[in-house]
Symmetry: C2
Subunit: 418 residues, 2 copies
Amino acid sequence: MGRLVMKFGGTSVANIERIQNVARHVKREVDAGHDVAVVVSAMSGKTNELVGWAQQTSALHDAREYDAIVASGEQVTSGLLAIALQALGIQARSWQGWQIPIETSDAHASARITGIDGSELIKRFKDRREVAVIAGFQGIHQESGRITTLGRGGSDTSAVAIAAAIHADRCDIYTDVDGVYTTDPRVVPKAQRLDKVAFEEMLEMASQGAKVLQVRSVELGLVHNVPVFVRSSFVKPEDIDPHGTPPGTLICSEEEIVESQVVTGIAFSKDEAQISVRRIEDKPGVAASIFGPLAEANINVDMIVQNVSEDGRFTDLTFTVPASDFTRAQDVIAKAKDKIGYERVDTATDVAKISAIGVGMRSHAGVAARAFAALSERNINIRAITTSEIKFSLLIDAAYTELAVRTLHTLYGLDAKT
Amino acid sequence: MGRLVMKFGGTSVANIERIQNVARHVKREVDAGHDVAVVVSAMSGKTNELVGWAQQTSALHDAREYDAIVASGEQVTSGLLAIALQALGIQARSWQGWQIPIETSDAHASARITGIDGSELIKRFKDRREVAVIAGFQGIHQESGRITTLGRGGSDTSAVAIAAAIHADRCDIYTDVDGVYTTDPRVVPKAQRLDKVAFEEMLEMASQGAKVLQVRSVELGLVHNVPVFVRSSFVKPEDIDPHGTPPGTLICSEEEIVESQVVTGIAFSKDEAQISVRRIEDKPGVAASIFGPLAEANINVDMIVQNVSEDGRFTDLTFTVPASDFTRAQDVIAKAKDKIGYERVDTATDVAKISAIGVGMRSHAGVAARAFAALSERNINIRAITTSEIKFSLLIDAAYTELAVRTLHTLYGLDAKT
């Protein structure tokens, strides 16, 4: 007897047959005695169709209207799943974001959840054992009364936020992979599924290019301490032992992981562009003069490397941006040239970022140094390095991505034994 | 300078190009200085797709979930049209039924509008000249907070109800025909478009099988005295003279029609089934014992003919039901046999109903008698007759439908002169 949130993504609800399959997954948990809230995405392809229509109508479309259009996808799935559950004899009703309500900021198309009132859902668990089928990805900005959406992948965030609001014991994310791997198995066939991973590690892995979960949902799991379990939605519900431990990865607090590896996973991203601003006057406020305008333009700057200047007068500053923002970032820097005061800008787009992540790094010295040596042996040139408490990232030529990932995966003992 | 509601159906918003065409129609009226509220249906085919999914999920689906699913179609169109209007430089925003709110009963899938608060829309007309783009066909049941829909064709009803709520001067229904005709032009090529038709006449024509407008919307127009103008959405907006009188049919109060015909139009319906209950004991309450159970089963009974019994003991009762309800109606009558007390039931499904409609009948005697003579000359047998103040209906063998319609159309002088 517990309380569960179950989240199903677009491919898991792509057609009626799959929605009925999802209903059987839910029935399994209801039969096991759990209170269940289900969070669903739009049927796969639907969101793209809706976004396409909005863009076709006008390239510069009102984000408030975009949200009203796009949120309809989840609305449909929530109703269909409620019907599918009722057909299995389960009490169920659909909830749109504005009905609960899931309150958000007014940052349309990328709104943040500011509050969820879970009381009615909890009341219905108790009074009628009613399953709540909740449209993910959306909410309402109370002041304007308008529908908001949380941005791509937002249904993960909805799920974890709802889990926190209804005091769920766990949030199960059903997806098209059966868990979080040490790295992308398509690149490293010896990659292994992790049984457990710490929130902090998953945060780094998600933001470093592992696409299993939206970063924001992991943040919420960390803040509210909601264990998040990533598992496959393509297993037949009938094949799951309700009392056993299904395959998957539990994202949980560090304390619950008894034996942690030094390095838990290797993430990588090829969608990076490097911008180096050369011979900037080395004076206070120069970083702000560069990154201020970039932030205003909503460009996400990732790695930032600034060398101590040799002569105390000029310095070089290198940073990376998503490849999709590269042209805009160049424009911003060019326009701010007078204000920043630099000699020239060098750029590179054929670059990749490789990151090694593990909470064990906190207590182990020299972890990154071993990587430098191993990569050097393979003649892989490191363009830039950044480090944090539980991660280090290396910028290299994109051509070496796979080789570098495999090298580090082996180096840190992550290869499967077989 | 006035206030207009413009309603566009599914074929008029079937794709982005047509939505942009609709936006130009709206712009024309805004440029002419009008306050405009636009009511839109779902893109054609979308509602069928959504209904299909609901049925595929479970044949016996929860009407509340059905409504949540199906209402999403209009939500999408309203957002897209708002974007298309903004792209033309027009202030516009989308409104879902729950946002205005359009309050309805809780009869999900066929809810009735109980109230609309038009104050915010009017305020925005005044403050910002903002066009309201309203999702048709839907509302909210306030007590449960759930989305309702008005049933098929409900967007017409939404449009007229909104016109009443915002005190519009006129409600323009843009559709795939350019007005209301004296009869179906596919059956009678000499059918003519009517410039004006009285609400009462249109009510009879709509409920008698002319499919231009939903009956409920005409009722609302009559009650709130909102003139409804039926016109084509396929005329290019650029080809319309904003100061001229566009082609179409104005549905208005009788007083505004100076010179009225005795008969305004001929309607017909082939989707009829006839049920004759024979040798019923002729005592008080017998009609109630038949039509009570049919009403409970939600079967719409149309023509009812009861002859005065010859001997004062037994009578025959004939009525028609929609062909789709025929089997259910037979069941209901069979089950109530003991309570009603009859000898047998005769039925016919190959029947059609022909109606002649005109407010002028009130002041002209012998209008129906001329029809009986003309049909008899053509050897068309009349199975049953009902009359009202402004209409008479004849039940005939379906095979004679077209012949009978053409005969009456000519008889009452409705043929175009060419």
